[in-house]
Subunit: 339 residues, 2 copies
DNA sequence: TTGTACGCGTTATCAC
DNA sequence: GTGATAACGCGTACAA
């Protein structure tokens, strides 16, 4: 086992000073040709690489980005991470991923761990518990310390920072409109409690589309579930007691599960009943029938988040200007709606 | 913006020495009651937290684990990360995730970035390109430097380190056996090229089960696809030209896609044809019909990997003993097979 | 009881 | 051209 070699080791071995070695490796003009060649050859031979930690301590820059998300088994978050990784790596940054598992406490603990020097900035999406409590002090503390934060998808207006979202209201609006255009009138919405910022916006879009088309809004056709668990029973019950000819769901899982339920009831998709979901993931693509969805462009969102964060991190000036990027959702038409 | 406060700041403010502050915060016996209280109160007031980077530099311990995986959009890897996170966080470690995107070069670059002091050890699964090339020098270098490595799922015997896998051969064997027991004889296998360690093992298990039951192995019923893309055409063609009554697939996507194909041909699952896949993910659970699978227990795998790594990291002695943990796969029976 | 000095690995400044 | 020194933030052995 050959341990990592340091500047000091090289200096001792070559009988020069540490600073000479440091300069030689940086090809400094002050150092003689001879010495430079000697040092560089030795460094290459022993595969010298500067120690990141020492550099971080000196520069007060870690080149690490902290990503805190509620869950990783959701395809959407997975694509966002991928986008972040892509941009971050291309710019020399590493990504530290922490999961809050939808828990406020875990979110706080994770942020505190990372905020003590481990990262240059945060990219995060709030846990449902955090949005429910409405307690954002951990975010405030971090921003007050001057650590840049980018919020995406599940955001809050109580914090001044850069934000990236898709226009959830528009997405739901487009989807609902589409269903109406196809002659559907009994359109159900399966969503989560309104404390989740995204669910709220989507519900608004749904209502807006119905109102604009003079379709009555029947409150019993709106099913609100907890984010945490998929409440199979309530979905089952919902379809048993409601007559609907189209369904808009705020995520893939609700959609796919619902589709199977109605299929078991003998209904044909999309002829008897249409379905549109959110998130363009594998579940949607490989469902049977394949699912029409509102694509959220997670990877793009990740890239933009990373870009905004790194811009802030690397900008010298302490400008207090924050922007919110709103991405346009896209309707991906597949076979769960009449085409 | 109140910047981070350091020991030095506290010392200056309270007009004591830095070491006094340091000791006081650690409740050292050497420090007087008075001073301790004064210092601790001040520290709490200004929310002092030690700087992780400085501690890392001093201790030569980062409390970071580097995770390098080929992809994150695969549900299996996602569950592994979750398991790693769970164990690591509970033990005060952060997880730095890097994606190789199945590329050898990216894998190497990522490891080099992290190996220069950013992490205490690696948990990784090899990219398909790496397994194809059979070039493991980047792993050798890292282990020679004394950085502990745990390989999971896609492993190699060329590197001495801890490993965690499921018994892929057994999994495929169990699945195939199950199909045979249900009277199937024309059992297809849809897999990837043999350079992927897991695919190879699974193919062996498939063959073994058939041989043991004296079922002829028809090579044309084995379809080998590249890992990279889902070759929809070749799968289509495969089912057009082969008559099969059961299919074993090495991942969820192949399975779900194949199921849709045969359903479009008018076949009934599971009566006309049975399906078994690998990985117990969402796709399987929410497929229609729901999919019988060989569960890989990704989360468990992640936890064990993290445990093995942290044990090595924290063990003082430099024992050169490595173990390979083999997890038992489980057959999860659902509706894509006759029950 | 408190403070000094040193080291972790690196770089920047300044002196020789 | 080269090297000594200080600094980043912390912890600790040792000195006072």
């Amino acid at each position: 086992m050959k341990a990592k070699i340091t500047l000091k080791d090289i200096a001792r071995e070559l009988e020069v000073s540490i600073s000479t070695v440091s300069k030689a490796l940086k090809n400094s003009e002050e150092i003689s040709r001879d010495t430079k060649e000697k040092v560089q050859a030795f460094a290459k031979l022993y595969n010298y690489k500067p120690n990141n930690i020492a550099i971080s301590l000196k520069n007060k820059r870690t080149k690490n980005i902290g990503v805190v998300i509620p869950a990783i088994v959701h395809h959407f978050f997975t694509t966002v991470i991928r986008g972040i990784e892509k941009y971050a790596n291309a710019h020399g940054y590493n990504v530290i991923v922490c999961l809050s598992e939808e828990s406020f406490d875990k979110e706080v603990i994770n942020m505190e761990m990372l905020a003590n020097g481990s990262i240059d900035g945060f990219i995060m999406s709030l846990s449902s518990e955090t949005q429910q409590k409405g307690d954002y002090n951990h975010l405030k503390e971090v921003t007050e310390q001057g650590i840049p934060v980018v919020l995406f998808d599940r955001i809050t207006n109580e914090i001044d920072c850069d934000k990236v979202v898709i226009d959830d209201q528009l997405g739901a609006y487009m989807a609902t409109k589409k269903l109406i255009d196809q002659g559907r009138r009994k359109i159900a919405l399966i969503t989560t409690d309104d404390y989740l910022s995204v669910s709220k916006a989507r519900t608004q879009g749904y209502r807006k589309a119905l109102q604009e088309s003079d379709v009555d809004i029947n409150e019993s056709r709106i099913l609100k579930l907890s984010t945490m668990e998929m409440d199979e029973e309530r979905i089952q019950q919902f379809f048993d007691t409601n007559e609907v000819d189209a369904v808009l769901c705020v995520n893939e899982i609700f959609t796919v599960y619902s589709m199977r339920l109605v299929q078991e009831k003998g209904l044909d998709i999309p002829n008897d009943i249409s379905f549109i979901g959110f998130t363009d993931g594998k579940l949607s693509r490989y469902a049977n029938p394949s699912l029409t969805v509102v694509a959220q462009h997670g990877e793009k969102m990740g890239e933009i988040s990373a870009q905004m964060l790194i811009d802030k991190v690397e900008s010298e000036e302490e400008e207090e200007s924050f922007q919110t990027k709103i991405l346009e959702p896209t309707l991906v038409i597949r076979n769960s709606t009449i085409n």
